[in-house]
Symmetry: C2
Subunit: 466 residues, 2 copies
């Protein structure tokens, strides 16, 4: 029996309601069971994956699929290394602190009238992702840990792998259901691409959409749903070399930010240069940085002042292959390869204006030895991450120490930057009284007054933990 999309969404909502009563211990048991069942069924998973890989290979040969996408489709890896990492990921999520049921604010409104703000799951999340099939396991585990119900829509290239992975995880939920009231519909998979638009209409049931994929996928989703979307389309990150950037730090930071993994959203796309650096010689910050970029095989799209500087100090660099004049649209482009746009700006304020105009509010870096410049840049650049003397590539949930990452958000509300489990939570207010009426409080004779006394969090923070 195939369910309609509204039926699936309604089932997810029911599952989300049931998940509110599941305890930390039960969630842990479910995650351990998922790991065990995945491991016990690995041959079936590998067989399905082999089928996807075979179909994808034909597409690669026809030139319809890139070799890197093909590689990301593989779930087994050499010596099952990728699969072992996937299993380890389940245990890693299990070990994270339970984000639900934490008291984050507590106030005695009056004698015997106590208010608690308690973390709660968002509810039903829709995750739309491309390529890597192991995401379905990762997101399912994060949803379970945070008490959310998830509807998962993966890429068609991974159809067989995703189907088996989901079936196996649901069988784990079935197995625990004898002892734990854990809803099977906490995880549901949608396979067909034509269902996306119908899913995006289910704002009655779905609370949050998390797109993980190409810019065009994310932008399409942002433009076609009333449901809040958490994610990012572009990642146009900049590194600004301030007048007194340390020449021993600047080249390393810029080269790492650009080349450590150019396809990542936190790779730098733009190099901004304080005009004062143009006066430097061939042993100075700018020359050393440009040389390091040339040596790393980066092609620079440069503005006229930088072009002059290169002609003067890097006569051996090849125009056309190592550098070329930039076009205006280069400063709004996410190159995602060994290409970088370069512009000269007037000091920190010039850099701030450039970034706030062209950037994507993801992560931007200043290289400086002047704390006041760092402070101004980091306050006024409107981005999820503002870095001083560190590569933009550090903008990542694992590097930030979140233990896991749901995605990176360039939103201005709810969650921003690399998002850990906390991004899948909200809160509810619990008020405990003894029959109090609001009409008894106020100004005038016989009226009661609120005490609004803070209740120390230390004493109550786990009062509602399950």
């Amino acid at each position: 029996m195939t369910l309609s999309i509204p039926e699936m969404a309604a089932n997810a909502r029911l599952a989300a309601n049931q998940l509110q009563m599941v305890t930390s211990e039960q969630k842990s048991q479910v995650l351990q069971k998922i790991r065990d069942v995945l491991e016990a069924n690995k041959e079936e998973i590998f067989a399905a994956n082999a089928r996807d890989l075979e179909l994808a290979k034909a597409e690669v040969e026809k030139g319809k699929l890139s070799a890197s996408l093909y590689k990301r489709l593989d779930i087994k890896g050499d010596n099952e290394e990728k699969f072992q990492t996937l299993l380890q990921g389940v245990s890693d999520v299990d070990r994270l602190e339970d984000p639900i049921g934490k008291v984050t604010r507590a106030t005695e409104l009056d004698n015997g009238l106590d208010l608690y703000r308690v973390t709660a799951p968002v509810g039903v999340i829709l995750v739309i992702f491309e390529a890597r099939p192991e995401v379905v396991v990762n997101i399912s585990c994060l949803s379970i840990k945070s008490g959310n119900a998830a509807i998962l829509k993966g890429g068609k290239e991974a159809f067989h792998t995703l189907s088996v992975l989901t079936k196996v995880m649901q069988s784990a939920l079935d197995q625990v259901s004898h002892t734990i009231p854990f809803p099977r519909n906490a995880i549901q998979l949608v396979s067909s691409r034509e269902h996306i638009s119908e899913l995006l209409d289910q704002d009655r049931y779905i609370d949050l959409v998390i797109p993980r994929g190409s810019n065009s996928l994310v932008r399409h989703i942002q433009n076609n749903t009333r449901i809040p979307v958490m994610g990012h389309a572009d990642g146009i990150c900049s590194v600004f070399l301030d007048a007194d950037a340390d020449p021993a730090k600047a080249p390393g930071i810029v080269v790492d930010a650009k080349t450590n993994y150019p396809a990542a959203c936190n790779a730098a796309e733009t190099l901004l240069i304080d005009r004062a650096l143009l006066n430097g010689g061939s042993q100075d910050t700018l020359s050393l940085t440009l040389k390091a970029l040339f040596d790393a095989g980066v092609v620079l799209h440069v503005d006229p002042p930088t072009l002059d500087f290169i002609h003067q100090h890097h006569a051996s660099a090849q125009e056309g292959t190592q550098y070329l004049p930039s076009k205006p649209e280069d400063y709004d482009t996410e190159f995602l390869d060994h290409t970088m746009a370069v512009a000269v700006v007037d000091g920190v304020d010039g850099a701030i204006t450039h970034i706030n105009t062209h950037g994507s509010k993801h992560t931007d870096c200043i290289v400086t030895e002047t704390p006041a410049h760092a402070e101004r840049f980091m306050s006024m650049v409107d981005a999820a991450g503002v870095f001083c003397n560190a590569s933009t590539r550090f903008a990542d949930g694992f590097r930030y120490g979140f233990g896991t990452e749901i995605g990176v958000s360039t939103n201005k509300t709810h969650a921003r930057g690399p998002v850990g489990l906390e991004g899948l939570t909200i809160y509810k207010y619990r008020l405990y009284g003894h029959g109090q009426k609001a009409g008894s409080y106020g100004v005038g004779e016989g009226k009661q007054q609120f005490s609004h006394r803070d209740i120390p969090l230390e004493a109550v923070k786990d009062k509602f933990a399950k």
Copy 2:
């Protein structure tokens, strides 16, 4: 010179960037100046308000405007009481703790590589409100305190009052601008209703929309913008009388929740009754509650079992004027007056199912003496507020002790329930390094490891306060 809407929005964005450098002390000076200038210009404000009241009076006489809307338009009040309250509100906001620049998470990623999560303004907020002109002052002060730029769109009935209030506040900003770098465009007013749709298109510049007005206004905005909307359309709150509800508490809670201010979003619209209470006699919980509602002039729309109970125990109540059979749509209706839908449900789980189906995720109450029932209800009801033995009318920013209220949100992300200043904030990550490269970290020989050591918040929480 009249600016276009995109120009205004771009100016707000520039102002928002400039606001990032304003200190707590400077914000306080601005708020004090606004209070002083409002007071100094009160006659001009009253004159403009008198003009609006005169025009509105004609509309009331033509039956085009309600008497209550007319009353809310008045900004002066008896003995200038309402105006003094408005001025006091400015000082009250000034005295709130600055929500910006607080470190909420701090981690040493490695030696000399420190990450801080620091609260920051959302950026540019658009507030669309109806009727009460003093909202423009209140919202402007909250925006200033939280470092946001605000674009304000008020109702046309208050046109003259809003124009003068905004002009006066902007002149206060001009006066401080000699000593404080405070952007005049931190507050901008839009008067014309036809600009709303163009404003809702400015997602490039505007980060958050806050609608304060009728359900239809809120729903229109939710359906017509890509910008996140914080607010609520319906407020369908329920009170559930559990089998062992205390008969000394139930009538008071229900009557207060319904009648204390029926036009408010936190007023109860639905009374749910545990089926077991139908067995009670005329001195029991259900009878006492129904009698109290009849005595308070509430008209009940009841389901068949309640109808039978009323016939049996309240023979003197008048069918048709005091109670009548309910229709299905009554349970999805926000009556906003002395009307209440009543339904019998099967225990706590029946109440949870009813509320999660018909409620608006605002505030719902259980009246019970059984903690396990309260726990189940409060965990599983999906609402911003879940109350035990207290009136739903307590769901309010002032009563919660927030000092002020921006609005009530039934969203599932960002901010939920009554929203104080915190709802106008987000955070950014600041990373301070010494030239670290991401490529230096990882698995393998010579690679560095992250330490991910928590930095105690107590020591750093005001490190970035201005």
